[in-house]
């Protein structure tokens, strides 16, 4: 899992992510996020990298 910067335009990505949710209700917004996770997961592909990413994401929420 890569933890250093890979994004070619970090601020631009962040803005685009927020804009994508504009005008959506909570359910639509949740669905967009879920779809996005699945699409991005397929770009990554590697099962071990994805497992590390999921663990890292959860770690920041539960602390372990």
């Amino acid at each position: 899992m890569i933890t250093t910067l890979q994004l070619t335009d970090a601020d631009g990505f962040y803005e685009r992510l927020l804009d994508a949710h504009a005008g959506l209700d909570k359910a639509q917004s949740d669905l967009l996020n879920a779809r996005l996770i699945l699409i991005l997961a397929n770009q990554v592909g590697n099962a071990q990298v994805l497992a590390d990413c999921i663990a890292a994401a959860r770690n920041g929420v539960t602390g372990h």
Partner: protein, 604 residues
């Protein structure tokens, strides 16, 4: 041991249907009945009779084991608590049989009857709402296309059980005892003692090996306090086995969210006698009595197929599933088979087919050990191989169940996301899980298979020198309980021939000379009387399928190496190599558990 001729039940040609609706009861089919014959032990006095193998339970797993032992000529007793196949009052159970099961049934001699009665299918389609989101054709997949048997045949389970009974009656060796109910069991270092109730009284027998094929409500597991893992969900389904005035396509259709079933899942599958299985997912809090009431079932069917379609209801059964898996497939002298060892949800046909493979795995091991050709440690490998298969099947079916019964909240959110993406992007179709169809489980960590083997060899075809065709099962039928050695070489030199004669004389191996496709001369040295365990004729791998199915590389043809593959009586590859050398001898010993089990892979 003398035995009177087996009682012959009237064979049935086709199941008669009652058109009446049977609420969660059988009666939709007329099942064959077998006569009770008082066992000799009832009148026998003196010491208890001892049998090498006693099988408890005459379902698909127990009967497959019994038929396999009968084919190998090993005597056994089978106890069944009633007098028919199928479960009284619940005639519809498994319907979908895998290529591996069909290959096993072919070896047992009942495949032709199954093929004639059942329905072949290979296309599966999955829908969400009104859209098709996934479609597959198993015939287009490499993993299925080498075998003489099709990917799947659908047929009511009791037909297969009935065919097995009749086959066992023809083969002999196995004493089928109907209306014999096991009521008590104990085992010591000396043997197992079984107490059996019959309509004519109670008797006891002793056994060296006992096979528990009593199914998901196994009494033996309770008596022996066998530890197991269990998981129970709240998913509820209701099966309707029906006949129509119209004919749906010969395909497996699944709906994740069916508009005609309140956006819950529906299965549409076919079987023999033009009967269709329509399986409806119900609300988790649904009342089983209500959802299987005739007017409710008819209303549901009308919503799916239209109000004008005539429907005969053959059988209806509401069910909930659980998953269970024992920690060990053996407890002393008792081996757990099929549903006695593990139960799974029905998704992917991983119940009955697993039981058939359990039986096929255990049969040759019992036969080889009892005949003194293998070490008793081989029987422990039944656990190693089939427990890993059970665990895998529990895991795979559990994932499907989780997809299909996705609770509201994040699990439903991701399923909705996956379905919506599957309509647009091919990758997401792999996430749609309405059942991963059962396969012949590989045994990558088997203590009795060499590294990178332990895979099932498909029942591939080849040519005999006279241009007639044969298949791997013909060879396995010939080699019986011996290991089958395939030697891939264009020319069998006198030196190689001498080695093979020694090998097949000194070890329980039968050898066949396999010629590559291009060679059409007859290079096997002429012999007036071939050694008993060497095939009299070579065979021609005209399409290269045998080599391919055994994973033997194409670099054959030069005389410096002699590629070989060693196949067990259950059609699993146990080793391969490139010369008739010490590695081959080590592999034979490994396969028969004669070499130390602690480091099986040191032979490579």
């Amino acid at each position: 041991m003398t035995r009177s001729p087996p009682p012959v039940a009237k064979p049935y040609t086709t199941a008669a249907h009652t058109n009446g609706y049977e609420f969660t009861q059988g009666g939709g089919y007329v099942l064959p009945e077998y006569p009770f014959v008082p066992p000799p032990e009832l009148t026998h006095t003196g010491p208890l009779r001892r049998h090498p193998v006693v099988i408890v339970g005459g379902g698909i797993s127990g009967l497959t084991l019994a038929c396999s032992l009968a084919r190998l000529g090993l005597p056994a007793v089978l106890l069944d608590e009633d007098n028919t196949v199928g479960v009284k009052g619940a005639s519809s159970r498994g319907i979908c049989y895998t290529q591996k099961s069909l290959e096993i049934f072919h070896r047992l001699g009942i495949y032709e009857r199954i093929a004639a009665k059942g329905v072949q299918w290979s296309v599966g389609r999955t829908f969400a709402g009104n859209d098709e989101v996934v479609r597959f054709d198993l015939r287009e997949q490499d993993s299925f296309n080498l075998s003489a048997q099709p990917p799947f045949i659908n047929i009511q389970q009791f037909y297969i059980e009935g065919f097995l009974v009749e086959r066992i009656q023809t083969l002999g060796h196995v004493d089928l005892r109907w209306n014999n109910r096991l009521v008590a069991f104990e085992q010591t270092a000396e043997g197992a003692t079984l107490t059996v109730d019959t309509p004519a009284g109670r008797y006891q027998i002793q056994a060296d090996h006992v096979v528990d094929a009593t199914g998901s409500a196994s009494p033996l597991r309770k008596w022996l306090a066998v530890p197991f893992d269990s998981q129970r969900g709240d998913d509820r389904w209701c099966i309707a086995d029906v006949r129509f005035t119209t004919h749906p396509p010969v395909e497996r259709h699944t709906w994740i969210e069916a508009p005609f079933n309140d956006n819950r899942a529906v299965w549409q599958h076919l079987m023999a006698d033009d009967v269709w299985r329509i399986d409806y997912q119900m609300a988790p809090d649904a009342d089983p009595a209500y959802v299987s009431r005739e007017d409710v079932v008819r209303e549901r069917l009308a919503r799916q197929f239209g109000p004008d379609v005539g429907v005969d209801i053959v059988w209806v059964g509401p069910y909930a599933y659980r998953s269970e898996c024992v920690h060990h497939m053996r407890a002393g002298r008792v081996y757990f088979l099929g549903d006695s060892a593990k139960v799974v949800s029905p998704f992917g046909a991983r119940g009955g087919n697993t039981g058939v493979s359990d039986a096929d795995n255990l049969a040759w091991k019992l036969a080889t050990v009892l005949r003194g050709l293998a070490a008793p440690a081989l029987l422990e490998a039944y656990h190693a191989e089939r427990h890993s298969a059970a665990v895998e099947n529990v895991r795979v079916t559990g994932r499907t169940a989780r997809f299909l019964r996705a609770p509201e909240g994040v699990e439903r959110l991701f399923r909705t996301a996956a379905i919506s993406l599957a309509r647009q992007q091919p990758f997401a179709r792999a996430l749609i899980n309405t059942g991963r169809m059962a396969v012949a489980n590989p045994y990558p960590h088997s203590p009795v298979c060499a590294k990178d083997t332990g895979t099932s060899v498909q029942n591939v075809g080849f040519q005999w020198p006279d241009d007639t065709t044969g298949c791997l099962n013909d060879l396995l039928g010939w080699s019986g309980i011996r290991l089958l050695l395939l030697v891939f070489t264009p020319t069998l030199s006198p030196a190689l021939c001498k080695t093979l004669v020694s090998l097949t004389t000194l070890t329980p191996v039968s050898a066949v000379h396999v010629l590559p496709a291009a060679t059409r001369t007859a290079p096997t040295p002429e012999r007036k009387t071939p050694p008993p365990h060497m095939a009299a004729e070579h065979l021609i791998d005209h399409l290269g399928h045998l080599r391919q199915a055994c994973g033997v590389s194409e670099a054959q043809g030069d005389n410096h190496t002699t590629p070989w593959a060693l196949v067990r009586p259950d059609g699993y590859l146990v080793g391969r190599g490139h010369g008739l050398d010490g590695n081959l001898v080590d592999t034979i010993a490994l396969a028969l558990a004669i070499s130390p089990l602690d480091d099986p892979h040191s032979t490579t």
